[in-house]
Symmetry: C2
Subunit: 357 residues, 2 copies
């Protein structure tokens, strides 16, 4: 049996209340703090967080559910969120659901059983009920990257639509007209938003053209679906979609690829097909500066502020947890207000876009 709080009290000559306050993160005078820490070291005292969790109804643990741990975009976000949470005394328990809705539900269930105090989640499916049980039991949930339709829930998002629209417009400014896009899965929020951005840019440009040429007036182009190929947000999917676009569109001069994994896959395929970038095809990719700088020629990419996303999500969650601590100790309080934080994407010029105007 290890040392107890009483042993620490005996060793330091301090009262149990002081020691309890120290252990629960309360204010303790500097000299007492030193005494307690020395005693903890000497007696090999171990705080039993499990037992403490039962008493306070807090486990000081945050659950994180994400589609793929093995994905640099998510792991960068989590790294940043974890840093901030740890500096506030929270551990994280990470579940990787492999982009599978059933596993996502299981993970949520699992984290509920572990009585995590809150949840950060990048939803894979669109099932509101997955996080509704959390919220019903008064545990805050913050969504990252993807929003639930009809889900009134805190979330941290980037302007995906605007980012894609901007990328395509940049290609147009350099004289590109036949621009392909490698899209993500239909059921993923960011994929839909990025595709919408592409479509808006195409429509805007064709409206501008038809205004100039009166004979075309009123006849707005629809998006040419041959120029869209679904890459399923994976490396293999990106490679396959690249081949399809290339085969279906001999006159395509540029391609916009809408996530990092698909960018890697498309570059593999471009490599296999022997296509010269940017002479034969201009490319704008997504995410990951390191990759963009290591390939020849350097890739032009849309970047996302992963660190800020992680920090914003952690801060949002912490603010709810602290609110709750102030108002009441019951976990059954409903969380009423929700907040959405929008963050801006970046754009990094490489050498993968040719000016053909």
């Amino acid at each position: 049996m290890g040392a107890t709080m009483k042993d620490i009290a005996r060793e330091t000559g301090l009262g149990l209340a002081t020691i309890s306050s120290y252990l629960n993160g309360g204010n303790v005078r500097e000299k007492n703090r030193i005494k307690i820490e020395e005693a903890i070291e000497k007696l090999h005292f171990e705080v039993n967080e499990v037992a403490r969790g039962l008493k306070t109804n807090r486990t000081k643990t945050i659950g994180i559910i994400l589609p793929e741990l093995n994905n640099i975009f998510f792991s960068e976000i989590i790294t940043a969120a974890e840093d901030l949470l740890r500096s506030h005394g929270y551990a994280t328990m990470i579940c990787d659901c492999r982009s599978d809705v059933k596993r996502e539900e299981e993970a949520a269930e699992f984290l509920l059983h572990r009585r995590v105090d809150g949840l950060i989640m990048m939803p894979t499916g669109a099932e509101k009920k997955v996080f509704d049980r959390f919220r019903k039991s008064g545990r805050p949930v913050v969504l990252i990257d993807r929003r639930m339709e009809n889900g009134d829930c805190d979330c941290v998002l980037v302007d995906n639509e605007g980012a894609a629209q901007n990328a395509v417009k940049r290609l147009m400014k350099k004289g590109h007209k036949k621009i392909g896009m490698i899209t993500g899965p239909d059921n993923v929020y960011t994929a839909r938003e990025r595709q919408r951005g592409y479509e808006l840019a195409i429509q805007e440009s064709s409206k501008a053209r038809s205004a100039q040429q009166s004979d075309l007036k009123g006849k707005t182009d629809r998006t040419d679906t041959k120029l869209l190929a679904d890459g399923n947000y994976t490396i293999a999917g990106g490679a396959k979609a690249m081949r399809k676009l290339y085969e279906d569109n001999p006159d395509m001069t540029a391609v916009f690829i809408s996530n990092y994994e698909m960018t890697v896959g498309a570059m593999m395929e471009i490599n296999d097909l022997g296509i010269k970038v940017p002479e034969e095809l201009s490319v704008i990719g997504f995410d990951n500066m390191d990759f963009a700088r290591a390939v020849v020629p350097r890739l032009t990419i849309v970047t996302q502020p992963t660190e800020e996303i992680g920090q914003a999500a952690a801060n949002l969650l912490l603010s709810h947890l602290e609110d709750k601590d102030e108002t009441s100790d019951k976990t059954s309080d409903k969380i009423e207000t929700t907040e959405t934080i929008w963050l801006k994407t970046g754009f990094v010029e490489g050498e993968s876009v040719a000016d053909i105007s």
Copy 2:
């Protein structure tokens, strides 16, 4: 207050022992299992793992400490380990210590307080005491990737020395004599092993040469230290080391880069310097097939079996946890036997090595 086991018993008409057995993962007849699961669903019963942990002295949670979450090699390993652990009912709690020895100690302390049942760790520093406290309290520890000197501890390793030696020998077979190496930090086990492999290959070749040329007999070359540059296992370090090697060795025809991050960094710098691969410089990199296939020309690389590493570590840990369950319920049992599992690296031919023989 939520539903209790008694409510489940009343709802199903089954005895508490059956329900308890179900909840603790024991064998329950199929028809009872269905009844219980329906009742759980209907009554919104939540297992309180925290309370259960106190009773059984098991939290069914495994701690994982790693140097960088934001590193594809580690995240692939963890993904595989987590899969296997979850299928045995274990959650994982992941701590990223940012390659910092102090944070590594804090993480171990933190996980001890959370009473994890075991620890998987890729040690950053060389401090045996970090995991000694775990082992003293009877909690198994499995090290991955890096071994502790003098640490008699279970570990899963790959043959780093052999992998590096083999890579350098392949360069030699293609006629390369001046071969540079980008090394990792001195205090990291794998970095030392990989450097040793390089040095063995160089020494072996110079011995073979001196045996042929009798006038050189007995005069074995030492490694030319100008051909070694420390890249600190980071992207930035790899880029810097590449530049140094290039400036210090105008006659260098090939370079071996000993981890993935440094490979990315070196490729960035090769890009910046305008060096043509493989015409002007042959390159063998490390890890990550996707990256290797996406760059032009495709990289020749040493690969590590990340999935097998993760699974082996999880299996080793599970075997200890199950042993313990069988023999006794006390956590103070010492773990006496240790095991080291060696896994083989792979080698993937790309187009980044020129034959100059």
